[in-house]
């Protein structure tokens, strides 16, 4: 194997496009991991009781007595007059910041209702920035269901941070997309061994510790749902490296290879660093591959990670792909992963959940990747499932996590084999 990334092949043939009922979260959900990534930031949703209820339900359990996110719930009075709504928002932000003086960045997050009533959060952010003058930075973005699905919320949040990024043409590798801190540390260490020393991350661990961007910036996307951010970085002069996403041994290796090529790392050095990791990753993968090989997998659209996961599960775990659903298809960002899918893989974009579930029932797959609303109903029909939301919370990136990632999919099957209930 050389350093070069795999050649991009023409896109696969047929894509089933559906536009019916969608069973996906909205972009507000991404606050659940973004607030953990940047502990000095607060996410204030401007929305309804539904928004507040959604985030707390998606977060699953109320882990934090006082979380770093909240909802400014619009009342009837706010709907009656936008002037009032703006005053109310200012008052509420002031109260919030008095209680949480450690907050350095405040994200005002737009929701379906705030967008429908055309509450201008950009203007509100501008106004608050003047009022707060340097104490706290106020940014705004939309996480609304009418504009975003699930993981797209992170794309919009990062996009909102971009204007604050200083300009610099310094040579650097910029990893874009939230990673678990431990995984990020590993990546940095491995890049250092490759001789790539200037590695920065977006989002950063501290919301004020923003990386610069410019002509010397090479962007490596750690997550497949950052279309708008990737494009905006390119407008700032950065080069977007095309690679599969770092799921599994192969994906992680190719992802790092894309960086290595861009930074002129000699092949021998790359192989010397990566080969032991690849070998060890494969060893970790093996017991799970034995469970997964030959099993049929149906991926329902949810987190936008479906295509890279399908690539990993088919190529490295030997699973057979029945259907690979994705909420929307960004061909440029998915090019490398699409090229590695088996030919004639059935892709679907969008959703009509009742029709899609009929296809699931007809195909009787061994495993379905789906959201929490569908998992137990499918299990009750005798179909094993894996919750997709776990994949955005668990450290699954990199060669060292390939075994864990495969294990997440093998566990439901292994569990079924263990249970003897009749």
């Amino acid at each position: 194997m050389g350093v070069s990334a795999p050649p991009i092949q023409p896109s696969p043939p047929d894509i089933l496009k559906e536009s019916g009922q969608r069973e996906v979260f909205c972009g507000l959900t991404s606050i659940v991991w973004l607030h953990r990534r940047m502990p000095d930031a607060f996410f204030l949703v401007v929305g309804s009781r539904t928004c507040a209820h959604l985030i707390q339900s998606a977060a699953g359990v109320m882990i934090f007595a006082e979380p770093r996110f909240g909802t400014a719930i619009l009342g009837e009075r706010d709907l009656a007059g936008l002037a009032d709504a703006n005053e109310e928002l200012d008052r509420l932000v002031k109260d919030l910041l008095e209680r949480r003086p450690e907050i350095r960045t405040l994200f005002l997050v737009g929701s379906c209702p705030s967008e429908v009533i055309k509450l201008d959060l950009a203007k509100a952010a501008e106004r608050l920035n003047t009022q707060l003058l340097g104490r706290v930075r106020v940014l705004n973005y939309s996480g609304s269901g009418i504009e975003t699905t699930f993981t797209q919320g992170e794309d919009n949040a990062l996009l909102a941070m971009l204007p604050l990024l200083p300009s610099s043409d310094e040579e650097q590798l910029l990893i874009v997309g939230t990673l678990a801190d431990a995984v990020e540390d590993r990546f940095r260490l491995i890049f250092e061994r490759l001789g790539i020393t200037t590695v920065r991350s977006l989002p950063p661990r501290r919301s004020t510790d923003l990386p610069p961007v410019g002509k010397g910036t090479r962007v490596l996307l750690a997550q497949p749902f950052l279309s708008a951010t990737a494009r905006a970085l390119q407008h700032r002069g950065a080069t977007l490296l095309s690679a599969p996403y770092p799921f599994g041994v192969e994906g992680s290796r190719d992802w790092m290879a894309a960086a290595a090529t861009a930074f002129g790392v000699p092949t021998e050095r790359f192989n010397a660093v990566l080969d032991p990791l690849v070998e060890r990753g494969r060893r970790a993968l093996e017991p799970h591959r034995q469970v997964l090989a030959g099993k049929r997998l149906f991926l329902l659209p949810d987190s936008q990670m479906e295509i890279p996961l399908a690539r990993f599960l088919s190529r490295e775990c030997g699973m057979e792909l029945v259907e690979v659903g994705t909420p929307y298809l960004d061909r440029q960002l998915m090019a490398a992963d699409l090229a590695l899918l088996p030919p004639a893989t059935q892709l679907s974009e969008g959703q009509d959940v009742d029709l899609q579930l009929e296809r699931v029932r007809a195909a009787r797959p061994d495993l379905v990747l789906c959201g929490l609303g569908l998992a137990n109903p499918l299990e009750a029909e005798g179909i094993a499932t894996k919750w997709s939301i776990e994949l955005v919370f668990s450290p699954i990136h990199g060669c060292d996590q390939a075994g864990e990632l495969a294990e997440l999919f093998a566990r439901p099957l292994r569990r079924r084999a263990l249970l003897q209930l009749s």
Binding site: Q21, V24, F25, C26, T29, V46, S48, R49, T50, A52, H53, L54, Q56, S57, M62, I63, A65, E66, P67, F69, G70, T71, A72, I73, L74, G75, D78, L79, A85, E88, L92, L96, C112, P113, V116, I117, S144, G145, I146, E147, T149, L189, R280, G281, R283, A284, P287, D354, G371, L372, G373, L374, A375, N376, P377, E379, A380, G403, E404, E407
Partner: protein, 555 residues
């Protein structure tokens, strides 16, 4: 505008979903943007329901707003009726759809669907979940009973007509629903209790009923309002329109169960059994049927005397808990409150009886503050209070929705009736006993058995030796390694030596890597890695060795 971090109640359309999902043969078409389908997981995850909620969402997006969202609503309704063939249809909208004013109910009304249809108008910006559930249940019952409404001036049916008709008396149990607290088991317990008193159950609704069952509601002699949050309005309407009397005592606790039975016998004109009459010296039905009265009198319960209890829940469970705590367990209620604004009056009255001012709020931080200020020793609350209590290091039992998956137990565990009282005794007293253990741990924490990483079940928030009379133990704990207790002589063993040798193998970066692993698996990873290192004869354990071991043990 109101800042909310966690909410006790969802929006009113989630209340409507609770009614639709509790029933069979009902379908709910909800005009709502993409994302609102999250509400499905409340039922499939918290209640572990094996069926999707019977809800079709229009899931409109921004691009639909430019076009004809009304057409989208009609298409969704048509497809839902064709696909699910409901016996009754609910049509409504969530907060965002309310703003775009498509009026889905009116649209459905003009569609000739051939099924009873209820147009739900649930104001999302002023009302909440329980109100939405009550309104939906009321509107549905009203729609289905329209044809049976007695003409004005019709005399009220006699509640003792069962006698003239030569049958047993029968009542409806109204209000149990999904995401309510222990409704499934309460229905079973009350049905059994009634059967023992010769009373039949005509209809249980909404839980487990079909639209056709709701049409049988007027055949009962009385309505039992089991959960006023959901069934209050419908019971009042049935009383006004059909003249059906309502039994309003909620049978949670010994006193309330007895009062409930007395009220029921009175309403139905049934003779009161001797053991329900409050006669001095005679064994009561409560003594015969529940263990709570004896358990509470038994000698080991003396330590419960005057325990300071803080209560916050929905109105029904809060009021019941206050009565049980003060009268049946001998606790001292030091705080009582509820998030149910609709029933605030009743909660205030119950608090006044105990010489307290009720806390009516939906801000959990206010509740947490009050809990701390009341210096409570036991918290009875919702899952929000469970978290607050954990933070304050207080024992807690959950007595009300909102709930967590662990509050939907596999075992039979009603709150109502005689068995409910047993369940309550156990589930409130056990956390207190755990609290006592906490004190013991505090007292014995300098004993060598306890120093080796004992973790409290309350987590890091556990109070250090509070109230045990231990002299200033907390003062030395913060002083660092110098203040570590001297190991008792003879405790250094060969095993300790091996342990130390292994621990010294860890390099700084190995330790740093290990520290990143969540604490609850860190011990296991450490052990595995050390076993791996010993097996391979490694001279040091660095980050690489840790990952090598991780790969080795990956299965």
């Amino acid at each position: 505008m109101e800042l909310t971090l966690w909410t006790y109640e969802g929006p009113p359309h989630v209340g409507a979903m609770r009614i639709a999902t509790s029933m069979e043969g009902v379908h709910y078409v909800l005009h709502a943007p993409q994302g609102d389908t999250y509400a499905d997981l409340l039922f499939t995850m918290i209640e572990r329901r094996g069926l999707r909620p019977p809800v079709t969402y229009t899931t409109f997006q921004a691009r639909d707003l430019g076009g004809d969202t009304a057409e989208l609503v009609q298409r969704s309704i048509r497809q839902a009726v064709e696909r699910f063939q409901p016996e009754a249809l609910l049509v409504g909208e969530s907060c965002t759809a309310e703003l775009i004013q498509d009026q889905p109910g009116a649209l459905a009304g003009g569609m000739n669907l051939g099924v009873p249809m209820v147009n739900l108008e649930l104001p999302a910006y002023s009302k909440k979940e329980n109100w939405g559930a009550a309104e939906t249940f009321y509107q549905l019952v009203r729609t289905l009973l329209k044809a049976q409404l007695p003409a004005p001036g019709t005399p009220k049916p006699s509640p003792s007509r069962w006698r003239d008709e030569g049958r047993r008396p029968r009542v409806n149990l109204l209000g149990p629903s999904l995401l309510g607290f222990r409704c499934r088991d309460d229905v079973l317990e009350i049905t059994r209790l009634l059967a023992e008193h010769g009373i039949d159950v005509a209809v249980v609704a909404p839980l487990g009923s079909r639209p056709a069952d709701l049409e049988r509601i007027p055949t009962a002699d009385a309505n039992v309002c089991l959960y006023p949050e959901v069934a209050g309005p419908v019971c009042s309407w049935l009383e006004r329109s059909f003249g059906t009397p309502v039994v309003r005592t909620v049978p949670i606790g010994i006193g309330a169960t007895a009062a409930f039975l007395r009220e029921l016998h009175g309403v139905l004109d049934l003779a009161l059994p001797a053991d329900l009459q409050s006669l001095e010296g005679q064994p009561s039905e409560a003594e015969r049927r529940s263990r709570l009265p004896w358990y509470s009198r038994s000698v080991d319960s003396t330590y419960l005397t005057g325990k300071r209890v803080f209560i916050f829940a929905d109105a029904t469970h809060a009021i019941a808990a206050a009565r049980i705590a003060s009268k049946e367990l001998g606790f001292q209620v030091v705080g009582l409150g509820s998030y149910s604004r609709e029933q605030a009056r009743e909660v205030r009255a119950a608090a006044a009886e105990l010489g307290l001012e009720a806390l009516i709020t939906d801000d959990y931080l206010v509740v947490e503050k009050a809990m701390g200020e009341a210096a409570a020793e036991l918290v009875l609350g919702t899952q929000m209070e469970r978290h607050s209590a954990k933070r304050l290091g207080l024992p807690c039992a959950v007595i009300s929705a909102p709930l967590h998956v662990q509050d939907v137990p596999a075992r039979y565990s009603p709150q109502m009736g005689w068995e409910g009282a047993n369940v309550i005794f156990d589930s409130w007293v056990h956390p207190l006993m755990m609290g006592l253990e906490e004190h013991l741990i505090g007292m014995f924490r300098h004993d060598f058995e306890f120093v080796d990483g004992h973790r409290s079940h309350l987590g890091d928030g556990a109070p250090a030796a509070a109230g045990t009379g231990e002299p200033e133990a907390a003062g030395t704990a913060a002083a660092g390694p110098a203040a570590d207790p001297v190991p008792a002589p003879g405790t250094t063993t060969a095993a300790d030596a091996v342990r130390e040798a292994l621990e010294s193998l860890w390099t700084a970066d190995g330790e740093a890597e290990l520290a990143k692993i969540p604490f609850f698996v860190r011990g296991k990873v450490r052990k595995n890695t050390e076993a791996f290192a010993r097996e391979r004869g490694l001279a040091r354990i660095d980050a690489e060795a840790l990952y090598d071991a991780k790969a080795h043990f990956s299965r």
